[in-house]
């Protein structure tokens, strides 16, 4: 706990020797969720990010970290602080789409770079895209598109789909349907923050479906899975990684075993960067890394690669350095599409038990070198 406190005290400077700096110091503002219900995601992003900074040994990258409490207005306030008071060059860290929508447009309009380690709302990929906005995680639809593709490939013909009634939930179902060719047995939008799914499960039971796709992030997903497994409905489930990731999986427990979920990363992905990342993350923080930690780690490495190539004050050169994505990602091949979102493979994983710990095993590639749907809407 003590180390956690130390890390979070305001300004953090990596106290390592410089590796010879061709460029001036760069200041990074990280706004992420560190308190309240969704804190786990933010903490993982932060820890992954700081691990990469530490490993780079660079002392010319200063990171300022603040807690947005998952409130949009607080995030906006912090962005103002980062820009006006801390005078950062680059912003990053936001977990939630709605907070990203509140912060990103005005930050990029003020000439700051924004590197998204998690949220990828469709607006920021399409009509609202910006040359200074780079998404290092995924466009929101991607993981769900992969789930649709997987369900299709697995031969499901009639799927019941559900998601919370908010924009990311709608993106999820649209994304799934984009790649699923079968029939939709039923489509439900649940209340955001709902924790009892008995009514929905009853509808699934009655719908005559052969499979279920759901997108319910955070506690909603835990609740759904527990209740689903106790309901006697035993249709196969497909879901995005968010409900099956390392942090949350232990809380779901047995109910998740065998479920197939889609993700652009898994800890068993076979590349040297990933192996080293998993090992060092475990050594540093004493827990297995999550999807979010890998995204934080990749975001930092992208930044480090750009800092090594160009001075942040030379905006065009720095942007080009970012765009080239010249870093070793934990996911293997990684490049940016024309609207600055990842082109990457998305995998199907299965939840297994390793000793006492629930975790995922990669079983197949759901979508190979996948870009996103909104490139043609983006005019930079």
């Amino acid at each position: 706990m003590k180390s956690l406190l130390n890390v979070s005290v305001g300004i953090i400077t990596a106290a390592f020797l410089t590796m010879g700096s061709a460029s001036a110091d760069i200041k990074v503002g990280m706004i992420t969720t560190l308190s309240g219900g969704g804190a786990g995601l933010g903490i993982d992003v932060r820890d992954g990010f700081m691990l990469a900074i530490k490993q780079s040994g660079r002392s010319d990258i200063n990171v300022v970290i603040e807690d947005d409490q998952r409130k949009p207005d607080v995030a906006v306030k912090l962005a103002d602080k980062m820009i006006q008071s801390e005078k950062v060059d680059v912003l990053t860290g936001i977990i939630w789409s709605n907070l990203a929508m509140a912060v990103v447009p005005s930050a990029t309009a003020q000439g700051k770079f924004y590197l998204s380690p998690n949220a990828g709302p469709s607006v920021l990929a399409g009509k609202g895209c910006h040359e200074n906005y780079f998404n290092v995680a995924w466009q929101n639809d991607n993981i769900h598109e992969a789930a649709g593709a997987y369900a299709d490939g697995a031969g499901y013909k009639k799927t019941f789909i559900l998601a919370p009634n908010y924009p990311a939930g709608k993106d999820a179902l649209v994304g799934f349907k984009r790649y699923f060719k079968g029939q939709i047995a039923g489509e439900i939008y649940t209340k955001l923050g709902q924790t009892d799914y008995a009514a929905e499960i009853a509808q699934i039971r009655a719908a005559g479906a052969d499979s279920v796709f759901f997108f319910l992030p955070g506690g909603m997903g835990i609740a759904f899975l527990k209740q689903y497994s106790g309901s006697g409905v035993d249709l196969p489930i497909v879901g995005p990684a968010f409900s099956f990731d390392q942090g949350i999986l232990q809380a779901v427990g047995e109910a998740a075993l065998g479920v197939v979920n889609t993700s652009q990363w898994n800890k068993d992905l076979d590349n040297p960067t990933n192996a080293a990342f998993v090992k060092s993350f475990k050594a540093e923080y004493g827990r297995l890394p999550s999807l979010y930690a890998s995204q934080g780690f990749d975001t930092a490495n992208l930044l480090i690669s750009a800092v090594a190539k160009a001075d942040v004050n030379n905006t065009d050169a720095f942007r080009a350095a970012l765009k080239s994505a010249d870093f070793d990602s934990t996911r293997g091949d990684f490049s940016f599409s024309s609207n600055h979102h990842p082109i990457q493979s998305i995998y199907a994983r299965e939840v297994i038990k390793e000793g006492d710990i629930y975790t995922n095993k990669t079983i197949s590639v759901a979508l190979e070198n996948h870009s996103n749907f909104y490139t043609q809407d983006c005019k930079m």
Binding site: N165, D196, A198, A206, K226, S231
Partner: protein, 306 residues
């Protein structure tokens, strides 16, 4: 819409109702006896769930976990009552709101400090796993049936406690007249602590029972708290019977509204609009219910006239 589905949804509504009852019984009792608005009641629910998860994780026994939830919430409640809240009984409701709001902050972040930022694991025991067949070919989870029965038992227990025992007499006297009960020679502060701990224990029990089928995480108490307030206002503040009726009404409205409103709207407009509009009205349904009841009866169904 089949008969089976309708019955199943009614059972779901009942089950939500009885869990809400566990929360709101304590809330309404504390308000009725001490006149305290306790926003931190949701935090006690959370404390119960976390205690249960911790004990279940360490010893693997669900029964022990439930006992731990009762005990931890009761103790947390008693500590808070003795150290802070008893100073506020004679104060304005506003001071109580601020103090218990502050307690929410302390409880939430304190819990996160102790247990970390990720949800904890708490599952239902094997012997309560899986569905059972009810008459009429209805398949329904055993655990939820157990919850309904347990909730009804607690309601009976509370009813007997208040109508038949000495403590109950004191509680009823305390509701009516604080001076009188002091004059009767009852140690009023002990009584208050007891009532508060009882309410807290019920909330903790609810947290543990619900935590097993939902997620045990920081902030889990606040949405339930709001629902519980809706319940006690509908039922009439201070009335256990009102809390019971209010819980069932809210449980049924919330569950059935979410399911049937979109279906009903589909008869009139196209499916996707119906789903959309239906689910947004459904999410407002309990508040509309509460508003309507308060317009009809400004002090709730069983509330005493002010």
């Amino acid at each position: 819409m089949s008969f089976v589905l309708i019955v199943e949804q009614i059972l779901n509504g009942l089950q939500l109702g009885v869990t809400l009852f566990l929360m709101s019984a304590g809330l309404t009792l504390i308000f009725g006896v001490m006149g305290l608005i306790n926003l931190a009641h949701g935090s006690l629910y959370m404390v119960g769930a976390f205690a249960a998860a911790a004990v279940a994780g360490a010893f693997g026994s669900f029964i022990l976990a439930l006992i731990a939830a009762l005990a931890a919430a009761a103790i947390a409640g008693a500590i808070v009552e003795i150290s802070i809240l008893r100073r506020l009984y004679r104060r304005d409701h506003l001071d109580q709101v601020l103090a218990t709001f502050a307690l929410i902050l302390i409880f939430s972040e304190g819990t996160r400090w102790v247990f970390g930022s990720f949800p904890l694991y708490l599952d239902i025991p094997n012997y309560l796993q899986g569905p059972v067949m009810l008459p009429g070919g209805i398949q329904y989870p055993l655990y939820r049936i157990t919850l309904i029965i347990l909730g009804v038992l607690v309601a009976i227990f509370l009813g007997l406690l208040i109508s038949k025992t000495r403590i109950g007499i004191k509680i009823r006297a305390g509701e009516n007249d604080r001076e009188m009960i002091a004059a009767l020679g009852v140690d009023i502060s002990k009584l208050y602590t007891m009532v508060f701990a009882l309410g807290a224990a019920l909330a903790g029990l609810a947290g543990a029972l619900v935590g097993a089928i939902q997620s045990v995480e920081v902030g889990m108490g606040e949405p339930v708290l709001i629902l519980a307030f809706v319940v006690i206002v509908i039922g009439g503040i201070g009335s256990i019977k009102g809390a019971m009726v209010g819980s069932i009404l809210v449980g049924l409205t919330d569950t059935l509204g979410g399911v049937f409103l979109p279906k009903i709207l589909q008869l009139f407009i196209d499916i996707s609009t119906a789903t959309n509009v239906g689910s947004s009205i459904a999410s407002m349904a309990i508040y509309i219910l509460m508003g309507a009841i308060l317009i009809w009866r400004p002090t709730g169904l069983y509330g005493s006239r002010l």
